[in-house]
Amino acid sequence: MAELHILGNIHGASNFKYQSLFCRYSFQAGPNWTVVSGLPEGQTVSGQLGSSQSAVWSHPLDIHYITKGLQGWPKLLLHVSCLDSLGRTWTVGYSCCSLPAVPGYHEIELPCWAPSAATLTDRIRQYFLGGSHQLLQTDIINIGLDRLKLKTESRGTVKLHIDIVLRNFSQFGVEYK
């Protein structure tokens, strides 16, 4: 059976306008894929913004998949949240990326977005009290080709440093580079 190793770390976030950030992540893959070892979901530590306006997490990733088909190549979904001085948290960014299908080291930037305030009242409330609109169904982050009705705001970016290791794919006639 073909195997995929994902090794690396979620390096950090930059250009978010919040002092303290953390990230919840989950790997999503099709029904052909099975996680053999590693945690496909997790949460980073909370990182304070440094002088370069970036928070560093260096959260390690080590996932081992086996698969019986190429459909549903794994994706990484991110929910970036902030932690304010009162201990409140809310989501400030969503993002998704498809993992590279080429073995080797990759530095990936994930641009984030968040649902925008629908009304002026919401905007004022969010400005003074914090909080944000959140997605009830997070499937929309990685599924759906027509999401015009979703109004969002662009947020910062998350950096990912990963190594991809493929095993036995060539035995099944798969070319990846």
Binding site: K68, S170, K177
Partner: protein, 360 residues
């Protein structure tokens, strides 16, 4: 033709170190004189039993079969050629043994199937076809004048490439982000999964991807800010690309600026193919760059050319010895049957005599 040599063929490397003991049932039609000295050798091997003394299994060659499978010829002293056929049937002494053997064989088959499940169940393309799996990401748009943007994309597949995926899609609307040192950028991070199929013997042309960056405003008006075209090659790999978006503008600068200021947007392209063929462009307009679109994609190709091969077997351990032995039996059996069929064809043509048999 020697069965012993057949079993030492290049296909038998895995069990090369094994020792064998063989027994042959031979039809002897040779001519002898009164002192039992051989005058003319005429033999036909009807049945061979090969015992692998290392792993303790028996190969019966040919296997249990019907009459049509085993022809042989015998020529009489008068030169008349007689063609015969024979069948082979194995019978065990006790019914209990048959049941035990059946159970054992079923278990072995189950183990073999589970062990080779990875080969049997991996999704493969149709024979003669080649499948491409593309994961495209529309990352962001930068340097556009408008704040609220979305991207509409169209996919055109070339001749010879088929896909059941959709050919059109739209990202969400996002408000651009402004930072001090960087240009304003709109984040999308939308993934598009494509699965296309083409004939294996041809090199497919690139897929045509057309992008239209559109802005929305407070009044709900949608205006095209720029077009981009990407010929997406189907070569496997991971790539990142920055596309410069262009919009058609009047050649008269004042007229173009006035239209942009008062009306907004740009002239629309009726046929996006004009982006692929510059000679089709209207000479009354020129194309002004309006921003950049950032894309990333990975391509995988899968074909049936490379036959799946099982991974290298580990050295024989006590638990897997029986299973490995069974696999060796199956392999030997197939080889033996093929070689025997070839050998019997020779016998049919050349009197069936003069064969020499070696025991291992």
């Amino acid at each position: 033709m020697s069965m012993g040599r057949l079993f030492r063929s290049e296909d038998n490397i895995a069990v090369d170190g094994d020792s064998w003991m063989s027994m042959h049932v031979v039809l002897d039609n040779s001519e002898y004189n009164e002192d039992s000295q051989l005058l003319l050798k005429q033999e036909a091997v009807l049945l061979s039993l090969h015992h692998n003394t290392t792993r303790n299994y028996v190969i019966v060659s040919p296997d249990v079969n019907t009459l049509e499978w085993n022809p042989y010829a015998v020529e009489t002293s008068t030169g008349v050629r007689w063609n015969y056929v024979y069948a082979l049937q194995l019978e065990f002494d006790k019914e209990d043994d048959v049941d035990d053997l059946e159970i054992l064989l079923k278990k072995l088959k189950k183990k073999w199937n589970s062990k080779n499940k990875h080969i049997l169940n991996f999704t493969m393309p149709s024979i003669g076809k080649r499948q491409y799996f593309i994961t495209l990401e529309i990352l962001s748009a930068k340097d556009f004048d408008a704040d609220e943007l979305y991207v509409e994309f169209f996919i055109k597949y070339p001749d010879g490439v088929t896909s059941s995926d959709v050919h059109h899609g739209r990202t969400h609307v996002t408000t651009s982000m402004r930072s001090e040192d960087e240009p304003r950028q709109a984040h999308f991070a939308q993934t598009v999964d494509l699965q296309v199929e083409a004939d294996d013997d041809q090199e497919p042309a690139p897929i045509k991807l057309f992008f239209e960056v559109i802005s929305t405003d407070w009044w709900g008006r949608h205006r095209t800010e720029g077009y981009a075209y990407l010929p997406l090659p189907l070569d496997p790999g991971h790539r990142t690309r920055v596309l410069t978006c262009v919009r058609p503008e009047e050649k008269n600068k004042v007229e173009a600026e006035s239209r942009r200021f008062f009306v907004g947007g740009c002239h629309l392209l009726k046929d996006l193919d004009v982006l692929t063929k510059p000679r089709m462009q209207n000479t009354d307009f020129y194309y002004a760059s309006s921003g950049t679109l950032h894309l990333r994609w990975s391509t995988l190709a899968q074909s049936t050319i490379a036959c799946p091969r099982p991974p290298a077997q580990p050295s024989v351990s006590s638990a897997s010895a029986v299973l490995q032995g069974a696999e060796a039996v199956l392999k030997q059996y197939r080889k033996a049957r093929a070689r025997l069929a070839a050998a019997t064809r020779d016998l049919k043509c050349h009197d069936g005599g003069g064969d020499s048999w070696n025991n291992n």
